[in-house]
């Protein structure tokens, strides 16, 4: 067999539509009505202000560790924007813009970060899976959901999110391989935010792009300016349409940047420079989209101020609602299995006795010894 170069069927494209100054490439500009453009801006703004409020809540000790998505609003909103209600969105944990847009009540996300399982309960009428912590593991059940979509022949699709770090995980590889091998209606969005906690993108993989991984699985990839909402909407829209028509999976690498901390438990100053962060701030997805809208005359500062006020009130209300939530201390026993087995009934009895004693009942200690527990029991 002679030696030669093998031509591969699949390829990787790049896409950028809106530059950092809000100038649009009119040949690529998607046709979106002013009303839609305002809706998109509002969704990005909502996610940004939500993140900022969550960071404050964390500092005040009102929620647990928080992983903000500051700067990644366009990368996660774009794919959510092009989905239909019956499609599935399979997030990781840095997609509040997508989840809020899809109909997750904000208080539920606050409750998740506040340490309550109810925050992982997908609201009725929404098909999406909840926040997923183990990196890249969601890609596999995303592939399974896409498989279900395919078996039902109902034209629905699944979009799953993963980070740049997640592409090094075996589960990412297995999911993409399966998606290709079975031609699943799955769109995988890699939010390449340049940092996997402290590991920079260039140390994550020697590949020039993360999008090119698609080629090895037998489908196409696209590297998109992830801070450009118009490019994200266009790329995700095409990929979702193709999946819906039976054209199989796509990997979209959204090149973005984590402007904030990985989570509130780390300090990025240990591993990256302020200069780098400043450079990326100039490419902020929100400000460039706002500049574009102003140039198009879709929105002015006054209208934006009104929007900001509404969003502020919405977030305050969500925080208030979330903080009213009282978890049922016995609930975990009821959700381990559909029917509680004997051994759990016995352990529940044991736990109840402990709670009774702790709250001062049945000859136990006074509830004042353990006020938090006392409050939960009553």
């Amino acid at each position: 067999m002679p030696r030669g170069k093998i031509e591969l069927e699949n390829y990787v494209e790049s896409l950028s539509i809106l530059d950092a100054e809000g100038n649009v490439d009119s040949s690529l500009e998607p046709k979106l009505e002013p009303q839609e453009l305002r809706k998109i801006l509002r969704a990005m703004l909502l996610a940004r202000r939500y993140d900022e409020r969550m960071l404050k809540l964390q500092r005040q000790g009102r929620i647990g560790t928080y992983g903000p998505a500051l700067g990644q609003e366009a990368a996660s909103l774009g794919p959510a924007y092009v989905l239909s209600k019956n499609d599935w969105l399979v997030p990781s944990f840095r997609e509040p813009a997508a989840m809020l847009y899809r109909g997750w009540p904000m208080e539920r996300l606050i409750l998740w970060w506040g340490g309550n399982e109810i925050g992982a309960r997908t609201p009725d009428g929404v098909r999406d899976t909840p926040i997923c912590v183990p990196v890249a593991s969601q890609c596999l059940y995303g592939a399974g959901i896409a498989w279900g979509c395919k078996l039902r022949h109902d034209g629905t699709v699944a979009v799953c999110f993963v980070g740049d770090g997640g592409t090094s995980e075996g589960d990412f590889h297995e999911a993409m391989n399966v998606a290709g091998a079975f031609n699943l209606p799955l769109v995988c969005i890699i939010q390449n935010n340049q940092w996997a906690i402290s590991l920079p993108r260039k140390k994550q993989s020697a590949a020039t792009t993360l999008a090119q991984k698609a080629i090895s699985y037998g489908f196409n990839g696209m590297q998109v300016d992830g801070n450009d909402i118009l490019a994200m909407i266009t790329a995700a829209g095409e990929a979702v349409d193709r999946a819906r028509r039976g054209g199989g999976p796509t990997i979209i690498e959204a090149v973005t940047y984590r402007l904030g901390v990985h989570t509130t438990a780390d300090d990025p100053k240990k591993y990256r420079t302020e200069e780098e962060v400043e450079q990326w701030k100039c490419r902020d997805p929100l400000s460039r989209f706002y500049k574009y809208l102003k140039k198009r005359g879709v929105l002015d500062d006054k209208a934006r101020d009104v929007m900001e006020e509404e969003i502020g009130a919405e977030i305050t209300a969500a925080v208030e609602n979330a903080e009213k939530y009282e978890p049922d201390i016995l609930e975990p026993f009821h959700h381990c299995f559909e029917t509680m087995p004997n051994y759990l009934e016995a352990q529940l009895g044991e736990f109840r006795a402990y709670l009774d004693a702790a709250s001062g009942g049945e000859g136990g200690a006074s509830g004042q010894d353990n006020p938090a527990l006392y409050r939960q029991v009553h």
């Binding site: 909840p130 399966v178 299995f337 004997n342």
Partner: protein, 326 residues
């Protein structure tokens, strides 16, 4: 009634479930065209087609994780791990997702899936194909762990597992696949998961076991009666989660003596939990310390040595005599 091997009985259970419920699917390596390396899925591809009997790429984590997703999309997958020794790749998806989705979504998403795996020694297989690691799964909240011991209970328990609303780890004693036949009823039969069976009533000592170890236990019981006039009561657990504490306790209260037998290593093995339950519920009835006949706490030897390292009737008889003569 038909005389079936465990291999045929398991096949029958899947065929029946798939015929009844179009959401039941099989995913695994070589389960379609090749009909499974142990032929457990024989004829199913032909009968149900490639959408329902899926020859999967060699990726155990994907078999488990894709099954989790299929559950969310409304299906009931039967995931086959070719050997339990390769099921560790799937551990992450099973522990982090299959076992937890019901709880973390407060019942919105559940995982009514079965993960079938052949386990244990006895077929002179090469390295990594003979371990008994059921205790690993039994430790994880949110999973049931079912282990049949013969054709009839294998068919009934697999049916129960397929239609169970929660994830079930179904450990198949591969040494029993074709070792013997049993009468299996014509009509589909089911058993409640979590109920042990007293397979032989006795008065002197309780022998508790499950899966492949039931064979040497039955042999030992015959010999104990014939040679030593020791009347042993035999309990086949059939499931490790839920574990039938009532059946264990009732028997030990009656006999006052107990031996627990399994292939799995001793340290933190199923016997440890069984004995803890006896101590909690029947301590004052015990006439002798409970004995364990188990695998040693060693890496499973290659097959030329495996026979000597497995629990056999001689080891069981020795332990029973010690317990009875204490």
């Amino acid at each position: 009634m038909a005389q079936l091997t465990m291999a045929k009985a398991l096949n029958l259970a899947m065929r029946e479930a798939m015929a009844e419920d179009p959401t039941v699917l099989i995913l695994g390596q070589d389960v379609g065209q090749d009909e499974g390396v142990f032929r457990i899925t024989e004829g199913l591809l032909k009968e149900f087609g490639p959408d329902r009997v899926v020859d999967f790429p060699v990726a155990e984590s994907a078999i488990a994780g894709v099954s989790v997703g299929l559950c969310m999309a409304g299906f009931k997958p039967i995931a086959e791990m070719q050997f339990s020794g390769f099921g560790y790749h799937a551990f992450h998806q099973i522990e982090n997702h299959a076992s937890r989705f019901r709880n973390r979504t407060r019942g919105r998403f559940t995982c009514p899936m079965v993960v079938r795996m052949p386990y244990g020694a006895g077929i002179r297989a090469i390295e990594h194909h003979s371990e008994s690691r059921e205790a690993i799964w039994a430790h994880l909240p949110g999973l049931k762990v079912v282990i049949p011991s013969g054709p009839r209970n294998a068919r009934a328990l697999l049916r129960a597992s397929i239609f169970d609303p929660d994830p079930v780890m179904f450990y198949e004693p591969k040494a029993c696949y074709r070792a013997f036949k049993e009468e299996v009823p014509e009509q589909p039969e089911t058993m409640e998961i979590g109920k042990a069976q007293v397979v032989r009533a006795g008065s002197d000592v309780t022998i508790i076991s499950y899966g492949a170890s039931m064979r040497p236990v039955l042999e030992a019981a015959d010999e104990l009666m014939e040679e030593y006039q020791i009347d042993a009561e035999l309990i086949d657990l059939l499931s490790l989660v839920p574990l039938d504490t009532e059946a264990i306790t009732a028997s030990v209260k009656k006999t006052g003596r107990c031996v627990v037998v399994h292939e799995a290593p001793r340290n933190c093995g199923p016997a440890a939990e069984i004995i803890a339950r006896i101590v909690e519920n029947a301590l004052m009835y015990l006439e002798a310390p409970v004995q364990r006949v188990t695998g040693y706490d060693l890496v499973m030897p290659f097959f030329n040595l495996e026979r000597a390292y497995l629990p056999d009737s001689t080891k069981v008889i020795t332990a029973v005599k010690e317990v009875v003569n204490f």
